[in-house]
């Protein structure tokens, strides 16, 4: 278990100082695949590098199994990193790279050789053992970097945007591979990414970060279905925001005048203007506008292969996107300029204050 306790990181001095992490606290469980997700500059990499020991926070504590590791240099922390650009040693072979950590720990040669072999088998790189990093493809280098970081059997493995340099197909492969390695080794993975899709597919839990703070922590499903604030809803997946009015009786008045009873969170029931979050794939288009709670004028149709995106303009002028899976058996044609109804279940609606 790793506890990050009110970590504070500031770059620079005085009024021009940049606060990279503002008293961030998070507890990551044993054998968990935990993802730090956020846009660039949100502090996710700073948090990762603080855990690795490359950044010295000005306040707080990082406890690994109860012991504060903040005063330890990187080479004394039982934590290993897979770097964004892999950082493989170019003058060493694949096997030497993988064995480097164990060699530095002073393990006997026979043990190093055995572990290197085991790790190379784990990442399916055994035939490449005597190659140099420069002779490997990006995906292969990625696997070697993984094997190198896993070889010393760290308590925690840190992955810094480790898949972002790979092309889409390889990235999908490596996502599954990473998940497999994590469950096989039982090591805690802390994964940093700006790619929300990657975070959703791989993580046990996600921490969404912005401007040096954690905005929400939860399972991928919780984060996607129940975003607690606009930033999280906007950053994760495609979202429609609808301005509405919450009445004291718990009903919501939509633009256009319809009233619905939305799935309210207990603490969010304050009467007044609210923002509704409605995911595009949880809505359907209706030919008869009066049958649906919302309606809008179809402005644009974007074909995306698996599905089609319908861009509508609501009564209050806001944009709304409906996503519809393409099915040749049920061809539907909506005309541009046509007024259409937007249907959805009450559970599909999240109510945010303001």
């Amino acid at each position: 278990m790793i506890e990050v306790d009110r970590i504070h990181v500031r770059f620079g001095e005085g009024p021009g100082a940049f606060i990279a992490l503002n008293d961030v606290s998070v507890t990551i469980n044993e054998s968990e695949f935990f993802t730090l997700l956020g846009p660039s500059g949100c502090g996710k990499t700073t948090l990762l590098r603080s855990i690795a020991g490359f950044i010295h926070p000005s306040g707080g504590a990082i406890r690994l199994a109860g012991q504060n590791i903040l005063s330890l240099p990187p080479f004394k922390r039982p934590v290993n990193t897979v770097f964004q650009n892999y950082a493989l040693f170019p003058h060493m072979t694949v096997a030497e790279n993988v064995g480097f950590g164990l060699e530095m720990l002073g393990r006997p040669r026979a043990e190093i050789a055995a572990t290197v072999e085991e790790m190379l088998a784990l990442v399916k790189m055994t035939p490449m053992a005597s190659r140099r990093p420069s002779e490997l493809s990006g995906g292969q280098q990625q696997r070697v970097a993984l094997a190198r970081a896993l070889a010393p059997k760290p308590k925690v493995l840190l992955l810094d945007e480790s898949l972002s340099a790979l092309d889409l197909k390889l990235r999908k492969e490596m996502q599954i591979e990473l998940k497999r390695l994590q469950s096989e080794t039982g090591i805690t993975f802390i994964f940093v990414t700006h790619d929300q899709e990657e975070a959703l597919t791989m993580s046990d839990r996600i921490a969404v970060m912005s401007a040096g703070t954690i905005r929400q922590i939860g399972t991928p499903r919780e984060i996607y279905d129940h975003p607690r604030e606009r930033f999280v809803a906007d950053f994760i997946g495609d979202t429609n925001f609808v301005q509405a009015n919450l009445s004291a009786d718990g009903t919501v008045e939509l633009p256009g005048g319809a009233r619905i009873r939305a799935g309210l969170q207990e603490d969010a029931a304050v009467a007044g203007p609210v923002t509704l979050v409605i995911r595009p794939e949880q809505t359907v288009l209706e030919q008869v506008p009066e049958k649906a709670p919302l309606s809008g004028v179809l402005e644009n149709v974007v074909y995306c292969g698996t599905d089609t995106h319908y861009h509508l303009m609501l009564a209050d002028g806001a944009r709304f996107v409906v996503r519809r899976q393409n099915n040749p058996a049920r061809p539907v044609t909506f005309e541009k300029g046509q007024r259409l109804g937007i249907g959805f279940e009450p559970q599909a609606v999240q109510v945010l204050e303001g």
Binding site: A52, G53, F54, P73, P74, F75, K76, V79, N80, T81, F83, Q84, N85, A87, L88, F89, P90, H91, F100, G101, M104, L105, R148, A149, P152
Partner: protein, 305 residues
């Protein structure tokens, strides 16, 4: 015929292209012959001639020049014996050049590392500080060192004022003085290539090594040094080669007593009026440098595997 016609054209075109290529190369070949190969041939020829009484050479074949490199003949009975003076000068040249290279490396490595780890905007300023002495005349720099270390100089004055010594330490006209001067003068030649290779160093490799339990010393030995080895090799060559042939620095700081090869060669063409011996000594220096380079480059290449 119709088939072979284009082929003939092609042959002619090829021939023309080859001729043009040689024409384009001609200026460089001429310069190379006139400035490097030609003079070298002259030196080789002179080393096998007889010394003239007032300098110059007499066109008469003789081994005397080459014999004189390592032996000395008795002026009365003509018996040959080992030239101890030459051998000690040779030894001093090799020893001082080696030490100069070593100290330049020890001082230059952290210097280059320091500059390479500064923010990009500051690096040029630091490099300027390294190169400014290089724009100053060698004689002036050498005399400046003399001002520092002579008996009435700054170093002795300071030590006396502090009460550490009561007699000035004799530093001028010693091997130490020559070494100090050569390290000072040749240090930029070490720092520049070291810096060039360190600037290209991928610093995330250092992070990775730290992360994999390497102590700072092991990071240096296992990651930084192998990565900047081309710079170390280039810098060492750039310092060692001119050190071996140094002339001005030992002449001024070593006085007339602590000679190096460069001074010995100059002596033959000047006061001693023994041009064949001077030519032979020059070629000896050339062979030594070449052998040293081959050995060094081979050794450092093998070590990498």
């Amino acid at each position: 015929m119709a088939v072979t016609q284009p082929n003939t054209d092609l042959v002619i075109a090829n021939r023309r292209e080859t001729r043009n290529r040689w024409l384009l190369l001609l200026p460089s070949i001429v310069i190379l012959l006139a400035a490097a190969v030609g003079p070298l041939i002259v030196v080789v020829i002179y080393s096998f001639l007889t010394a003239g009484d007032y300098g110059g050479v007499v066109w008469h074949f003789s081994w005397d020049g080459w014999l004189g490199v390592f032996t000395t003949s008795d002026p009365f009975d003509g018996t040959l014996s080992l030239a101890n003076a030459h051998i000690s000068i040779l030894w001093r040249s090799v020893k001082l050049s080696f030490l100069t290279t070593l100290f330049c490396l020890i001082l230059g490595f952290p210097t280059a590392y320091f500059i390479a780890t500064r923010p990009v905007t500051q690096r040029d300023g630091w490099m300027l500080l390294i190169t400014i002495p290089f724009w100053t005349n060698l004689l002036i720099r050498t005399f400046a060192i003399m001002g520092l270390i002579r008996n009435e100089g700054l170093a002795n004055g300071l030590l006396e004022w502090l009460g550490i010594i009561d007699q000035p330490i004799q530093m001028m006209f010693t091997d130490f003085a020559i070494l100090l001067g050569m390290v000072y003068v040749y240090l930029p030649l070490m720092v520049l290539p070291l810096y060039a290779s360190m600037e290209r160093l991928n610093f995330s490799l250092i992070d990775a090594a730290y992360d994999l339990y390497a102590t700072p010393f092991r990071v240096l030995r296992r990651v930084i040094v192998p990565a900047v080895k081309p710079g170390v090799v280039a810098g060492s060559i750039l310092v060692f080669v001119p050190s071996l042939g140094a002339y001005v620095i030992p002449r001024i700081l070593g006085g007339g007593t602590q000679l190096m090869l460069g001074n010995l060669i100059e002596l033959q063409f000047g006061q001693a009026r023994n041009w064949p011996l001077g030519a032979a000594l020059s070629l000896t220096l050339l062979v030594m440098v070449t052998v040293a380079l081959i050995v060094y480059v081979r050794a450092s290449a093998n070590e990498g595997d």
